[in-house]
């Protein structure tokens, strides 16, 4: 895929994430912090969010299984999750978290359970979309891409390549072996 086409694809995907309400201004704040010294900052923070929030979601699920429901505890757990979601600009997730907290204040257990399903749905949808966005965005930084039959030959420029000292390395993203300056990647 030509570089210009990739650039356009990345730009369109990014715009779509904002236009459809998945992300808000806070994501832009993260992008503005990213620089040459920290080229993967946004992806690192988002990865950290998805890793850390697994624990929070599990805690909320467990709390929702108890009887009677402890709405104070549920509110506190969701408050933490909402805060994390706000940090990466996860707009739709944050909105559902707010709704959940409203149901906690009203001691509405059914409302909490119903809304939590929505929280998980938005959380999962954003995860899928943003993973694809980072994958495509990662390719944008590569030069000399040629595609034939679903295989791309490219010169790897990403600075997070690991080397095993023998001259071969693996991309931290796809686990593909490469030698010299050319990488074969299945796309």
């Amino acid at each position: 895929m030509e570089r210009n086409q990739l650039h356009r694809q990345v730009a369109n995907m990014r715009k779509s994430l904002f236009d459809q309400g998945f992300l808000d201004e806070q994501f832009i704040q993260l992008e503005e912090l990213q620089d040459d010294a920290n080229p993967n900052f946004v992806e690192e923070v988002v990865t950290l969010y998805y890793r850390d929030s697994t624990r929070l979601i599990l805690n909320i699920e467990q709390a929702l299984e108890k009887s009677p429901l402890d709405f104070t505890k549920l509110d506190s757990l969701m408050h933490q999750f909402k805060g994390s979601s706000s940090s990466i600009g996860a707009k739709k997730v944050k909105l559902e978290c707010t709704q959940f907290k409203e149901y906690c204040k009203a001691a509405n257990g059914e409302g909490c359970k119903r809304t939590f399903q929505q929280v998980k749905k938005e959380y999962g949808t954003l995860k899928k979309k943003i993973e694809v966005y980072f994958q495509v965005d990662g390719r944008r930084w590569l030069g000399g891409v040629a595609i034939s039959g679903g295989i791309a030959l490219r010169q790897w420029r990403r600075i997070n390549i690991r080397r095993d000292g023998t001259g071969k390395g693996a991309s931290s993203r796809s686990g593909v072996d490469w030698t010299g300056g050319i990488e074969v990647v299945r796309i």
């Binding site: 704040q29 912090l33 950290l48 805060g83 994390s84 706000s86 940090s87």
Partner: protein, 142 residues
């Protein structure tokens, strides 16, 4: 954006760069995402950052003789929360700039946190504009 690192820096940012390397900030927060974001923001100003995950660790650091020019103090943390840690630091005679950060939006909750001895209190995550104003205020005292 005020993050100047070269000839395009504004006068105020240049002032931040000159002093930035000598200023240290203790970030006190149990949220690893907030720690990462705030650390990144402050490092861009050349500030030296140190992180701890709760108020007790912050108090213990000062008690052991460590010194920081600014403390970013989260409100809700396990073991020792922000208000309690702030009270203890002030009682110890710590006069560093202590800035509260909270995800609680109610003015009453922020005022209550301020009452513990904060210099300022903001909603988290901090924006670059707020960090700029914090650093400028910090420089004024030097």
């Amino acid at each position: 954006m005020v993050f100047g690192t070269g000839s395009s820096s504004t006068k105020s940012t240049k002032g931040v760069e000159e002093v930035g390397g000598n200023l240290s900030v203790l970030i006190v927060d149990d949220d690893p995402i907030i720690l990462r974001i705030h650390r990144m923001m402050l490092n861009k100003f050349g500030l030296v950052t140190h992180v701890v995950e709760n108020g007790k660790e912050a108090v213990d650091l000062f008690r052991s003789g460590s010194c920081f020019d600014m403390v970013l103090m989260d409100m809700e943390m396990p073991i020792m929360d922000g208000p309690k840690a702030t009270q203890e630091l002030r009682a110890m005679g710590v006069n560093s700039m202590i800035v509260g950060v909270t995800s609680r939006g109610l003015e009453s909750e922020k005022q209550s946190f301020m009452g513990a001895g904060l210099n300022r209190c903001h909603e988290k995550p901090l924006t670059t504009d707020i960090v700029t104003s914090l650093v400028q205020e910090l420089i004024k005292h030097y």
